[in-house]
């Protein structure tokens, strides 16, 4: 690769050479990595920095030192503030990952008895791993969770019933040993055995190792009810939570949500999450997935045909406020069958059309979805804006795209006025390349053709030019106000040998029309007498030549 143009700016160009492909890659620093929290860091530290620079140099160091310390503390306080914000974000993410994971196990994967407990074990362990590395180490050393080699057996060799029988047999044996005080001599061994049989009191004595009631729940189930069925979960969840938590403290929101999940009350989970969590993101995406799994009952409602659509509409509507995320929202609306389309229509027409590029992006979205009214409206807004800023070419192309004949006519008039005052056309490329779009309005067609006339004249194709001029007048697309200009253009043509001598019919045709125009022009108020005189002179001379020529040819 050849690197060049590297400098301190954010862009550099990388050229790939060799292997037959010559590609240019433009690499730009991703500005979106500057998340809001880091931006806060930059903003706040900027203030501190500027303050630091203003500390007077001439102060003695013993005066400056306290200020330097204070500034140092300010920097650190900004770092801590950002940390706190990030931690808040992280803890919310942890909570929603915990809830989602449980929903996946219970609802989406719908794990049956037997492997249910394995999945719950994984769930708890994953959460613990996320939260507390140290506690996990401690747990691992004490907890028999790691010593469940016999767990490998049920899935592979025994059926659930066979396992259940064997397990109960084993459980009774351990229980009997405990009753017999067989392990009384060894406190640790006895403790382990008590844990192994799922003795609640023993487990609760080691509460500090089980940081949460649901960890307690899974542990208890592991040792006391390993073959638990999904439908039995809620009973144990309730009792474990009651046993684990202080009777004084009310369950936190997270606890209620998890309890609702253990209850298999999906709607309650969604409802509680909607209230508790600060964004629609979680409930919208989870509910959508649950709906695809056909786990939601449908209600027929006004706001969205069902809960899934309601939440998706809310989430996507929120995205539309963001200057770039709004594009994501489009896909969400696309998949809301009842109200998605109308929501999209309402939102998309309000997207500020800051730049042409953004306007084109919005248009593409509307065109892809057959939203002709929105397309027309956006193009009209852009055309109007261009006209206000006197960018006639831009205004014209937007009004063509809007299929707005009236506006195209207006802009064509402006072009023609410009020509009259300045003698030249602007935006020639655009006018030349309109193709069939020029037929949108008569005035526009005239503009294009009139420019074509000038081009032909400039290229000295006088015959073609004359023919075109003639057709412009006969086809009646030339505006009356422009006839004088056209006649003035006709003047030199009437003088051209090529026209008068080789195409006398043409010349005569021109003559006919110019006569009519001249007679007409006498009725108009503001005529330029010199022009009319010139015309009469030219007409007379031309007519003479033509008559002579005609006579000669005919004869």
């Amino acid at each position: 690769y050849n690197y060049f143009n590297w400098d301190c700016l954010l862009q550099f160009v990388k050229c790939a050479t060799g292997s037959g492909s010559s590609l240019i890659h433009v690499v730009r620093k991703d500005e979106d990595i500057y998340s809001p929290i880091l931006r806060k860091l930059f903003n706040e530290s900027h203030h501190i920095f500027v303050g630091l620079q203003t500390i007077r140099e001439d102060l003695p160091s013993k005066n400056k030192k306290p200020q330097f310390v204070s500034i140092s503390k300010s920097y650190r306080s900004v770092i801590r503030a950002c940390m706190e914000e990030l931690q808040q974000v992280v803890s919310i993410l942890l909570a929603i990952e915990l809830i989602w994971n449980l929903c996946e196990v219970l609802f989406i994967d719908a794990v049956p008895a037997g492997s249910l407990l394995l999945h719950l074990l994984d769930w708890v362990r994953l959460h613990k791993a996320d939260v507390d590395e140290k506690a996990r180490e401690v747990l691992q050393s004490e907890s028999p969770v790691e010593h469940h080699g016999y767990w490998d057996v049920p899935g592979s060799i025994h059926t659930l019933t066979e396992f259940d029988v064997k397990w109960r047999h084993w459980h009774e044996e351990v229980d009997r040993c405990l009753q017999d005080k067989s392990f009384a001599s060894n406190v640790h061994l006895e403790l382990i055995c008590k844990i192994l049989v799922g003795d609640e009191d023993t487990l609760l004595e080691h509460k500090e190792l089980l940081s949460t009631w649901y960890h307690f729940l899974v542990t208890r189930l592991l040792f006391a009810h390993p073959t638990i069925k999904p439908t039995e979960l809620h009973y144990y969840a309730q009792s474990c939570m009651a046993m684990f938590l202080d009777s004084r403290s009310a369950p936190e929101t997270l606890d209620s949500i998890l309890l609702a999940a253990f209850d298999f009350d999906i709607h309650q989970v969604i409802k509680d999450c909607s209230i508790a969590l600060n964004n629609w993101w979680f409930v919208a995406h989870l509910t959508d997935l649950l709906d695809h799994c056909k786990l939601l009952q449908s209600h027929n409602l006004h706001f969205g045909s069902n809960l899934r659509e309601f939440l998706l509409l809310e989430y996507a509507s929120g995205l539309f406020n963001h200057h770039s995320l709004w594009q994501l929202a489009v896909d969400y609306f696309d998949h809301c069958p009842e109200f998605g389309r109308v929501y999209l229509e309402l939102h998309i027409e309000r997207v500020p059309l800051d730049t042409e590029r953004k306007a084109l992006k919005v248009l593409r979205i509307c065109e892809q979805r057959q939203m002709p009214e929105q397309v027309r409206s956006i193009c009209k807004i852009m055309a109007k804006r261009a006209l206000r800023n006197n960018r006639l070419g831009s205004a014209l192309s937007w009004s063509i795209r809007a299929k707005d004949a009236a506006f195209a006519t207006l802009i064509s008039e402006r072009f023609l006025q410009d020509y009259c005052t300045r003698g030249t056309f602007s935006d020639l490329d655009l006018i030349d390349n309109l193709g069939p779009a020029m037929l949108l309005s008569d005035r526009l067609t005239f503009l294009v053709k009139y420019h074509e006339f000038h081009k032909l004249y400039g290229e000295k194709c006088f015959t073609e030019a004359a023919k075109l001029l003639l057709s412009l007048i006969t086809a009646k697309i030339a505006p009356r106000s422009f006839w004088m200009t056209l006649l003035t253009d006709a003047l030199p043509l009437l003088e051209q040998k090529e026209v008068s001598q080789t195409h006398p019919h043409l010349s005569l045709g021109l003559y006919d029309l110019t006569v009519i125009c001249v007679f007409w022009s006498f009725q108009e108020e503001d005529i330029e007498l010199t022009k009319v005189e010139l015309l009469r002179l030219a007409l007379a001379r031309n007519l003479a030549k033509a008559i002579v020529k005609e006579g000669t040819v005919d004869a």
């Binding site: 409802k271 909607s274 409930v283 706001f303 809310e314 989430y315 406020n321 309000r350 409206s377 206000r388």
Partner: protein, 370 residues
């Protein structure tokens, strides 16, 4: 999170109205100091005053933007018995550098004999139409037949409401199933005519507006009225600011083929909230009609949202300085950061009309499902 920005509006007297433009990037304020100010939002979110000029010879009650398809156009109405239409002129280059623009008056509408209390543009699918209402109870509908010529307006309709009018709202629905419809609110103290909200509907056959409905249950002075965006529904939703916040549903009843009169409606009250515990002055919908904002004499802005069972509840309260209300009995308190927000910034609620300052609801969050 509600992000409240305080803008020192520098109006020398009470501010009576605030209006966002269609895209939420521009704002107009009007005041008893007889002037209108236009504000532009820069890329970094700051609002700058780009124009300030005297518009009337009396207090300016309302100001409103035309749809951007018609260009940069404002209308204002005043105690001086007139309404005016203004258009922005692209200025000289040194003006642009200073961030200033100029607005020129295109027309003055002088038909009213009394204070003009509200001015609104009709929905754009009706063309360029302007509507005013006055203290003498007349609603006037003007049209500019040539949208390129804002100096020519013709008075198309005069509707006599018999009650002093305070506010008007057009039904934004462009559905062919819905003829043009306008709601008029009255702050008249007359008790003979009970209902203070009237609905007028355009009749294709008579080419006139006829009264379709009077909301008889609204007997107190009405300060503001707002149709909700339609969303393709067959029925209409109307919010009213009176001694409380009320939301009505108007369900068109099936018309017999021989019927030539206006549509008959079944009127249902959807919600009624007296939480402001005082006069409610403004109501404003978001663009999908899922959120309603109201402001009242208690100095608070309240947000109302329907859950997916169509039950309306208060979803947020802001004090006059934009901070959330805490510790209020049984009401939801501070809202938290969300990804995006549901209230489009193109809706504004005027709150706190103390001299010279306008507190604006800039962005907001969503609410609960419950």
């Amino acid at each position: 999170m509600f992000v409240a920005r305080s803008i020192a509006a520098d109006h020398k007297d009470l501010i009576h109205d605030v209006s966002y433009d269609f895209h939420g990037r521009r704002m107009a304020t009007c005041s008893s100091d007889q002037s209108v100010k236009v504000w532009d939002k820069s890329e970094n979110g700051e609002w700058h005053c780009t124009a300030s000029w005297k518009t009337h010879s009396g207090s300016v009650w309302r100001v409103t933007w035309a749809h951007p398809e018609f260009g940069q156009v404002l209308a204002s109405c005043s105690f001086d018995r007139t309404a005016a239409v203004w258009e922005e002129i692209v200025g000289e280059s040194n003006d642009k550098q200073r961030g200033q623009s100029h607005w020129i008056k295109r027309t003055t509408l002088v038909d009213s004999r009394t204070s003009v209390t509200d001015v609104k543009f009709a929905p754009k699918h009706m063309g360029l139409m302007l509507t005013t209402c006055s203290a003498d109870g007349v609603v006037r509908i003007y049209e500019a037949p040539d949208v390129m010529n804002l100096s020519q307006w013709s008075l198309q309709h005069e509707i006599s409401c018999k009650l002093s009018c305070s506010c008007i709202s057009w039904n934004p629905s462009s559905s062919r199933a819905h003829p043009p419809m306008i709601a008029v609110g009255s702050d008249d103290s007359n008790v003979t005519y009970g209902g203070k909200v009237q609905i007028y509907e355009y009749n294709e056959n008579t080419r006139k507006y006829a009264k379709a409905e009077t909301l008889m249950t609204v007997t107190d002075a009405v300060h503001d009225i707002a149709f909700a965006p339609n969303l393709g529904r067959s029925f209409h939703v109307l919010a009213i600011a009176t001694k409380d916040v009320r939301i009505f549903k108007l369900v068109p009843m099936r018309k017999e083929s021989t019927s030539t009169g206006p549509t008959k409606f079944e009127v249902q009250i959807v919600a009624q909230f007296d939480n402001h515990n005082s006069q409610v002055w403004r109501v404003s919908w978001n663009i999908t009609s899922t959120l309603l904002a109201s402001s009242g004499d208690d100095g608070c802005v309240r947000l109302w949202k329907a859950n997916y069972m169509d039950n309306w509840k208060c979803t947020g309260i802001l004090k006059g300085d934009g901070s959330p209300l805490t510790g209020s009995s049984g009401q939801p308190t501070a809202m938290s950061t969300v990804v995006g927000s549901s209230v489009q910034t193109s809706q504004s609620v005027l709150n706190g009309t103390s001299a010279g300052r306008a507190w604006l609801l800039v962005s907001s969050t969503q609410a609960c499902v419950a």
